[in-house]
Amino acid sequence: MFNVEKIERLAALRLKGEEKESITKDLEEILNYFNILKEVNTEDVEPLVYTEEIKLFLRKDEIKEGLPIKEAEKNRELFGDNFFKVKKIVRE
């Protein structure tokens, strides 16, 4: 049932060796355990994502100062004219 490779690719992970075996086994056990939810009758039940008391607040369109460049640079060296640099995007 559980195609680990497909899920790995979606999650940008690449497990190997013992870790892969162990995690795959764990996942199968855990997913089996989740089957207990099938017992519950959820016909006509709306999913719960949001709390009623919390309402969306609409922010006014006013500019506020953001992150100065030197803050971003604390964590990553910026290249050329302040760009973030990444390796080539397409695989050979």
């Binding site: 999650a11 940008a12 764990d26 996942l27 207990i36 939810l37 999913p47 992150l67 604390k74 390796k87």
Partner: protein, 474 residues
């Protein structure tokens, strides 16, 4: 009495009366950290220089304003404190320096609290023992062979060991209450939406809440006053007024209706825990509480529901850790390889497990059966609580089914997940809950009793737990 044995309330009073100084206080706690933390290992980083500079500044002030003026606080390392290393207990964020303050940190600073250090936690708050930290284990100060609980294990241990006056952590499935219970201190999970999450590294966005860990209920109430409230930076905070929680403390429990959930008996509970719960209930009854048996019919489905929803949200929240803008940089000839290397190297095993579960639960063909189904069961659980609160004011139950366990004892993930059975239903429903220490087992390990209440009624919880706290045998 040593300064470090005093409560937040007592220290603030003494400082404001000029009986003790802020620097004196901070130095006392720093000394404790120096003496104990090589063993306890509650802290990932200690802010000594800045803390002392701030302490000196505060000592110079004539007007000593602030509910926590001069109080050293420890902050869980998944909360952004400007200029500090913020790792969330993970290798993938080792070296990451926060460029901004979380809203709660801003509020702490506004009330003149002093951040003394960042505490250890399970990686990305995923765990119940702090054993999932990428860096090291934290020990339970009560007995160092035992885990402090998790994921806010460092915060709980630091308070229990008097390394700090107070601490803050986050609770997604029990991560404040469970370690508070294991370490014999007080821990509160406020209502979802009561406290801003801006600056908290997200794990389960619809479940995460920041809350205080403290030596007693009064301190917890003071700390909650500091952090609670609507935040324009967090759309999931409620625009509701914040009460003064310390006002509720001494009102007593006469006439309060307390519910005991009958379904907790479906689970195996350590004998001493059951006995202690009964004791607590009896003592409250004597004080005038009415005890009623109530039912949460879907209680047994809370665990699988939680362990589908939290990892699903986490799998998405953790996608931003790709090595491009911050954090660990992997190696790769091309971008894909780079991503995979960064993340496979940077995340620990439990995090990888949960990312994979979550990715699976949201994936095409499985979404309805897993994520959506769990969301629907979540609604049923919340409705169970709604019905219960029509009859009672609050619920009383154990924080955990057992006291603290030893390191490496829970090897199986599902076994570890069971530590949360009595805490995570409150996260699913969003209701507030507090754990207070009430008794010990025959090994001397603390037992935590939990009081859970209605949405946005933290006052009620403080009222009842304060009363219970006074009934403890010293």
């Amino acid at each position: 009495m040593e300064i470090t044995e005093l409560t937040v309330k007592e220290i603030v009073e003494k400082i404001k009366k000029k009986e003790i100084g802020v620097k004196e206080t901070v130095l006392a706690y720093l000394k404790n950290i120096e003496d104990k933390d090589n063993n306890i290992k509650a802290f990932l980083s200690i802010n000594n220089e800045e803390a002392l500079i701030k302490a000196e500044e505060l000592d110079k002030e004539n007007e000593k304003n602030g509910q926590i003026f001069g109080i050293p606080v420890a902050i869980k390392d998944n909360i952004n404190v400007y200029g500090t290393e913020t790792t969330a207990g993970s290798k993938i964020l080792k070296g990451y320096i926060s460029p901004y303050d979380a809203t709660v940190v801003k509020k702490i600073k506004e009330q003149n609290g002093i951040v003394i250090g960042k505490t250890n936690c399970d990686e990305f708050a995923m765990g119940s023992s702090t054993e999932n930290s990428a860096f090291f284990n934290t020990k339970n100060p009560i007995n160092t062979y035992y885990v402090p609980g998790g994921s806010s294990g460092g915060s709980a241990a630091s308070v229990a060991a008097n390394e700090t006056a107070a601490a803050f952590g986050s609770d997604t499935g029990g991560s404040i209450r469970e370690p508070a219970g294991f370490c014999g201190i007080v821990g509160l999970k406020p209502t979802y939406g009561r406290v801003s999450r801006y600056g908290l590294i997200a794990f389960g966005s619809s479940l995460d809440v920041i809350g205080p860990l403290a030596k007693n209920v009064e301190d917890a109430a003071i700390l909650t006053n500091v952090i609670a409230g609507f935040d324009r930076k967090d759309e999931t905070t409620a625009n509701l007024p914040v009460e003064n929680y310390t006002d509720f403390l001494k009102r007593g429990v006469k006439g309060k209706k307390l519910g005991v959930i009958k379904e907790i008996n479906d689970f195996k509970i350590q004998d001493e825990v059951s006995i202690t719960l009964k004791e607590a209930i009896n003592k409250l009854e004597v004080q005038g509480c009415e005890i009623e048996e109530v039912s949460i019919p879907h209680l047994k489905y809370a665990l699988p529901t939680y362990y589908l929803i939290a990892p699903s949200e986490a799998s998405s929240n953790l996608s931003r850790f790709d090595g491009v803008r911050y954090g660990l940089e992997g190696i790769g000839d091309n971008l894909r390889d780079f991503y995979e290397d960064t993340r496979t190297k940077g995340f620990g095993r439990e995090v990888k497990r949960r990312i994979l579960i979550g990715t699976f639960a949201l994936s095409e063909g499985y979404f309805d059966e897993y994520y959506l189904k769990a969301s629907k069961v979540r609604r049923l659980i919340a409705m169970d609580f709604e019905k219960v609160f029509e009859k009672v004011d609050a619920l009383i139950l154990p924080t955990t089914a057992t006291t603290a366990f030893k390191f490496n004892e829970k090897k199986n993930p599902l076994e570890m997940y069971m530590s949360d059975i009595f805490t995570m239903p409150m996260n699913l429903a969003g209701i507030p809950a507090i754990s207070i220490p009430f008794g010990k087992d025959n090994k001397g390990l603390p037992i935590g009793i939990q009081i859970a209440g209605k949405w946005f009624e933290e006052g009620e919880i403080f009222q009842i737990s304060y009363a219970l706290e006074q009934l403890k045998e010293s």
